[in-house]
């Protein structure tokens, strides 16, 4: 609050209501990890992602449907949650799991790291909805891999 004295000054008076507890920080629409966290050292995100076992050979051999399962496994690594819990989340109009576009971008980043190059450029994604579902993202990835293998360049 400013020290200037003015007429009709408005004050937010942030400190006046004491030190009451703030509301919960991040209520999430996404399914959270269940149960009480074990008293062991947390496993890092990098290690959780590595445990999914994504590699270039797997990416090349997967159908769009198989890529969908891989994407769900990666989401589980990101959220530290079992895939079964994640699959109970909200559905997209295409019938697959709805995901925030930012999470899709994270998956694309992981895949690019494994594949060795960026497969998808955001500026060339024609339908933003493809980044909002596991199915859409998997189809986008599959098409990009197919194009890349066919020598037509990244999507």
């Amino acid at each position: 609050m400013s020290d200037y004295v003015t007429f009709d000054v408005m004050s937010s008076n942030v400190a006046a209501d004491g030190g009451g507890e703030a509301s919960p920080f991040f209520p999430s629409a996404a399914p959270a990890a269940t149960g009480v966290a074990p008293a062991v050292a947390p496993v890092s995100l990098a290690d959780r992602v590595a445990a999914v076992g994504v590699n270039r050979a797997r990416l090349l051999s997967r159908s769009a449907g198989q890529l969908e399962q891989m994407v769900v496994d990666l989401l589980g690594a990101l959220r530290s949650a079992p895939a079964a819990d994640l699959l109970m989340g909200e559905r997209h109009g295409d019938g697959s799991l709805r995901i925030p576009s930012q999470v899709s971008v994270w998956v694309l980043g992981i895949v690019a790291g494994v594949y060795g190059q960026k497969l998808v450029r955001l500026s060339q994604v024609r339908d933003p909805e493809s980044l909002r579902s596991v199915g859409g993202l998997s189809r986008l990835l599959h098409a990009a891999i197919q194009r890349e293998q066919g020598g037509e360049g990244a999507a």
């Binding site: 408005m10 919960p24 991040f26 530290s80 925030p100 971008v105 980043g109």
Partner: protein
């Protein structure tokens, strides 16, 4: 003429009051200060629905539109943060501290994973706000993590029961002066007298200048951009009466396309810093040096319709 919008508890009401004031002012105003007194409180669904109905992905009169969540995610990517379910406190046990630290580290790592992809979007070609916060200057990983350092010093202050403090800032635009070395940060966080003067004023407030540390934003001398990223240039963090408050400076705030999402993202960022530092969340203030109601984009009837719709829904 500057304007101090009447503070509101929810970010939605604060946003709507700002729109109403700038509308009465003719569509533009300078030095507009918007205050949210309970930034971690729930959103007003009626207001969120009204703005959400307009902000759908696409273009409007040449302006790129993004959803509220997308805009908010540029400041704090909440979808990449797994809430550890605990809050820092002095004497916190090893297990809970490890959970807190791991959640923050995972957030930084996840954002680093996505940064190369994010910058393939034209709108992110100069980097992203959150990228600048965790990896200055923000276009690639491996830069200076301002958030991690600010959390370290705030935790240190919390451990020493400091209830007034304004050492921390987050540089977003230009060249941030005082992105301190680890040694300087450790010294700043300690209770030892500083070699170049007392870091605490007679009234007990720690100050950056008194500590010989920079807290002032210095803009890039070669900045010739007439418009564009970044609009958010600086974030100040202040502890007062044991609460952590945030003030963000925008040099041009787009009140419809961006402002609601900006407030939401900043609120989430404040929540993250409060959780990680152990301070209760104070107020959120946004200072827009130019507040723009965007009548060129949405038309005067469109803007007034949005304001009316949001206000009407609030009254239902």
């Amino acid at each position: 003429m500057s304007a101090f919008i009447e503070p509101a508890g929810s970010l939605g009401e604060a946003w709507l009051r700002t729109l109403e004031w700038v509308s009465m002012a003719g569509g533009y105003a300078i030095n507009v200060m918007t205050t949210v007194t309970d930034p971690l409180g729930p959103e007003e669904p009626a207001i969120r629905d009204a703005v959400g109905a307009i902000l759908v992905e696409g273009h409007r009169s040449g302006t790129r539109l993004q959803t509220v969540d997308t805009v908010a995610g540029t400041i704090f990517p909440v979808d990449l943060y797994v809430d550890p379910g605990t809050t820092y406190e002095p004497g916190i046990d090893v297990t809970n501290k490890a959970r807190l630290d791991a959640a923050a580290t995972d957030l930084y790592a996840a954002y680093g994973d996505m940064l190369p992809i994010l910058t393939t979007e034209q709108i992110n070609s100069r980097g992203t706000y959150f990228g600048r916060m965790i990896s200055w200057p923000g276009k690639t990983g491996g830069g200076f993590n301002q958030l991690a350092e600010r959390i370290n010093t705030l935790r240190n202050a919390r451990d020493h029961n400091h209830r007034k403090r304004n050492l921390e800032d987050i540089a977003v635009g230009g060249e941030g002066e005082g992105l301190m070395t680890a040694d300087a940060i450790i010294e700043a966080g300690s209770d030892k007298p500083k070699s170049d003067g007392d870091a605490t004023r007679a009234d007990g407030v720690e100050t950056a200048s008194a500590a010989g540390l920079a807290g002032v934003q210095v803009y890039a001398a070669n900045d010739r951009r007439p418009r564009g990223f970044p609009c958010l240039v600086h974030i100040d963090l202040t502890v007062f009466d044991g609460r952590l408050s945030m003030a963000a400076v925008y040099r041009h705030q787009y009140l419809i396309t961006k402002a609601y999402g900006n407030l939401l993202g900043l609120s989430r960022l404040l929540g993250f810093l409060a959780q990680q530092s152990g301070y209760a969340a104070g107020e959120l203030v946004v200072h827009a040096t130019m507040a723009d109601l965007e009548r060129d984009t949405y038309g005067k009837p469109g803007v007034e319709g949005l304001i009316d719709a949001a206000r009407r829904r609030m009254l239902v």
